[in-house]
Symmetry: C2
Subunit: 422 residues, 2 copies
């Protein structure tokens, strides 16, 4: 069955029924928030040991006093823990402060002012600079480009990664200097890039000699199932294709330990790392090494990270199950919506009836449920079909989440019925 | 007596004597470092309580979970502690991560890309951008300008602040968009800006409508004597002069708590703060609030900061005394050197015989004592008289410090004698 199989009267009846349900939900005076991929307090509690670390011993494994200045590259023992996750040699990993977004920002700024290795001139003196943006994607990535006047070229994000043909076409333009990519459990669709797509991106001939893939592996180890998807080795693939400086790999502990007080990581070629450090060293004398020591002591090893992620999964997987179950129960029969059932990451991506996403978000808001604005997952905030809504199930309690998704499903039905009846 | 009163033979005898002393020092195989204003381990020990804070209670005074994302402005209770030190209302103070240098960097980057409030266009699209640099000054300030192609206009740094007439002349050029200033216990001379000079800088007519004073109050509370010098209220002075957006005030706990794991602060006008946050919010979701909570709990209050600084003073003041005493004992009689006797801050500034500073640093290095390169305190690393050497007495142990200054004084005498004998 789908809306197309229903008569106008049946749709009107559904609208009336859902509107009554909506009013009842409205009367509950809800104040719920599905906007951001924030860990819940229960998830943060998993890492509370950090709150009293490192304790009396403030020296790292090499005997360096972490309290003092210096150490631009970050603590070796923490870089060792994350290098295998990033699939980059430890010597090519930099550990930073609490935000990998900041590392991405700084890479853009340094490139605009100075160019990157392989650049003929600073990006900022080019007539225009463009980035390929698989969409739906991460709104903060797009906001960074807008901040610095970098034009966005949208390509479709498929289940196995970006549409390579579209990327291949885009990079014929020498103004296209890079692309964004969340390779594993992408934000928001949960797509995982295949080895084949990764290899094609690594090998692509690009008009710009200094083309970069900003490989934001924010959810590298954030599995929701037993299937521990491994992110392709983009650095190795690029080296093999003769483009060793192409990938710039980002990661962080924001959704492993504390979202606001974690550690960020950058991995890349030796040339790119030397370039990054040479500019970073003007901005700071070094990262917060005490916090890095705290993390190295608490996580212990790469295996320690995976073990911690299992505990996150135990909290998160049932929440994703709740979202998918309610959407299925409430919406499947009408054929007016599709949603992802991701094997990892932080989001469910919901596609509603074309032209109704904005209305759905308006309806949920008026019932006390904040959603990310419709279109947020697209460059310039413009979803050409006005259909995509990002659901972030992590933060609310299970009960609140169920209520919020109920509001959402009700709103989806109302908006669809409104459109059919208009 | 001075070198001018000595015969060639007497200078030769002094040279021989000092060279013998130097050889003896060389044989000790020293490895000492006077390059950087790093706190000593004993100073860092004062704040070891931070190493196990905040402990189980991770909520700030408003009940916010500091572990999670958000809070771009930083923790209110920590901003309250530092607002009186910065002489800025708490609502106009932002608390950041571990490096105020990074805040300075980001202010420059945002200004170059977007302009500041009062700008007609982004600084970066102007034909040239210049900054006034009182010298001797802080080498990392100058390095930031070089990194972004901002031209440096040197003005003399006097005992009561920068030479106002020279600044007044410089700011007639509309390309001059700002100036650096370490107002209290300046790096490296220890100069403290007077109320009168501060008022003149606040009132200056500048050709650029968007002229900024980068007021880096790194040593606001870092007294070495009973005289608790108070930094002029630059924000109030600028407001009174009709230039409310002129000052951008920086501070940090780098030399209060942990040099590498402290908190930085920015204070300015409401317009400038809103501007800064609007751009910062693209770079990061928020600072490390757990570290800010740690600091708020440990420091407790503005008075707590001052009490901690007394304990630093007890460690630092004898070191400065050692430096000044040895320089006086070894050099005063020859009239070939001058040095500051600062009432606060982290440096002694030594002026040796014109044309010999580079040679002195070479000699100390060859005897195992690393000094900041001669000229480092000047724009482009060029001391026009090749006479200034920055001494950072804080890090070495008292014995090592005495030995290092002995090497330095010996080197000063040898270099001066070499010049006279050449």
């Amino acid at each position: 069955m789908s809306f197309d199989d229903l008569s106008r009267d049946q749709i009107q009846a559904l609208f009336d029924e859902q509107t009554a349900a909506y009013r009842a939900l409205q009367e509950r005076g809800l104040k719920l928030d599905l906007t951001r991929g924030k860990p819940s307090p229960e998830q943060l509690d998993l890492s509370n040991e950090l709150l009293s670390l490192p304790g009396a011993d403030f020296k790292d494994a090499s005997g360096t006093d972490t309290r003092n200045y210096g150490g631009l590259t970050g603590l070796l023992e923490l870089r060792e823990i994350f290098a295998p996750i990033m699939r980059v040699p430890t010597s090519q990993v930099v550990a930073g402060d609490n935000a990998s977004l900041a590392m991405m920002h700084d890479n853009l700024v340094f490139a605009l002012f100075h160019g990157v290795p392989d650049s003929e001139q600073p990006w900022g003196v080019e007539e225009s600079v463009k980035f390929v943006c698989p969409a739906p994607g991460y709104d903060r990535h797009f906001a960074l480009l807008e901040e610095y006047g970098i034009e966005m070229v949208t390509v479709p994000m498929n289940a196995d990664g970006p549409d390579v043909d579209a990327v291949r076409e885009a990079v014929k333009d020498p103004a296209v200097k890079g692309m964004w990519l969340v390779p594993t459990y992408s934000n928001p669709t949960g797509a995982v890039i295949s080895e084949a797509v990764a290899a094609e991106l690594a090998a692509l001939e690009t008009a710009a000699p200094d083309f970069r893939i900003f490989w934001d592996n924010a959810y590298a180890v954030h599995h929701l199932t037993d299937q521990q998807t491994k992110t392709p080795d983009i650095l190795g693939l690029c080296v093999a294709s003769g483009h060793p400086n192409r990938p710039v790999i980002f990661a962080s502990t924001s959704k492993i330990t504390f979202a606001g007080a974690g550690v960020s990581f950058l991995g890349s070629s030796p040339d790119n790392i030397a370039w990054y450090l040479s500019h970073l060293g003007k901005r700071t004398i070094g990262p917060d090494k005490v916090n890095q020591l705290r993390h190295a002591r608490y996580l212990g090893s790469t295996e320690g990270v995976h073990a911690l992620m299992e505990r996150h999964r135990a909290i998160l997987a049932p929440k994703f199950e709740t979202v998918v179950t309610i959407l299925r129960d409430r919406l499947a029969e009408y054929g007016i919506a599709d949603w992802t059932e991701p094997a990892g990451g932080y989001f469910v991506s919901l596609d509603v009836l074309d032209g109704t996403a904005s209305r759905v978000v308006e309806l949920t808001r008026e019932a006390g449920v904040a959603m990310t604005p419709a279109g947020a997952a697209f460059p310039y905030g413009e979803d050409p079909r006005d259909r995509n809504i990002r659901i972030a199930p992590s933060f609310p309690s299970p009960d609140d989440l169920a209520t919020a998704i109920d509001v959402l499903a009700t709103s989806v039905l109302i908006a669809a019925a409104e459109q059919y009846l208009a």
